[in-house]
Amino acid sequence: MSETLNLWINGALVERIRQHGAETYPNECCGALLGRATDAEAIPTRTSREVLEIFPLVNRREDSPRNRFFVTAEDANDADKAAQAQGLDLIGWYHSHPDHPARPSEYDREHAWPWYSYIIVSVQNGNPRDMTSWRLQDDRSAFVPEEVEIRNQAKA
């Protein structure tokens, strides 16, 4: 059985993530994705979730922020509390890849948690480009892409 993974997100939140990546360039940005994760069991071949808010965080990797990001347990806890305060779930994380493609690295894979959605935005020369989303496979061997569906996308 093949499973389609969808991540719905508002266009305004996409722009905030992209802007965060531009602001922190050449360093990586990071933050939490708050929203709802629903396993549509009535439609067993489809699993979707929705990002309804983001919670920008500080990259705590001060030694190597250009190619690494780190969210401490305390910061992750703050993100979880922010989600709960808004009646939402903590469903994933976003970070940027400065001058690097929006694809998970081996380092991303080794350090990922299952279940979470991982949004990656590529920032080239300070300009945000591609944005993708991924979820770690159960056996940790690879990421599976999530199809990002943007609602209310602002016209250029």
Binding site: R61, A73, Y107, D108, W113, P114, W115, D138
Partner: protein, 93 residues
């Protein structure tokens, strides 16, 4: 009353969607071994192939980080709460 192990959201899918489980255990290591014994699919996300806790897995006993106690040898008793708290890491290369 046993030791309660709180299961973080990203691991609940491997523990029958439970947010906690209780075990009789005299150390953190024993409790985690029982947790992964009951829910085998949790093991690879908590431990490396060598059997060490992954660096981004933070374990607390009654709110104290076990790194500042006796790590997995930290003693536990009935009524204690063990929390597994994720930290999040990654990078472009």
């Amino acid at each position: 009353m046993a030791v309660r192990v709180m299961i973080p959201t990203p691991l609940r899918v491997y523990a029958g969607k439970r947010d906690s489980a209780e075990f009789r255990a005299s150390t953190v290591g024993e409790a985690l071994a029982q947790l992964t014994g009951e829910f085998d699919d949790l093991r690879r996300h908590l431990f490396t192939d060598e059997g060490n806790l992954r660096s981004f897995v933070n374990v607390y006993v009654n709110g104290e980080d076990i790194r500042y106690l006796s790590k997995e040898e930290t003693p536990t008793k009935d009524g204690d709460t063990i929390s597994i708290i994720p930290s999040i890491a990654g990078g472009s290369r």
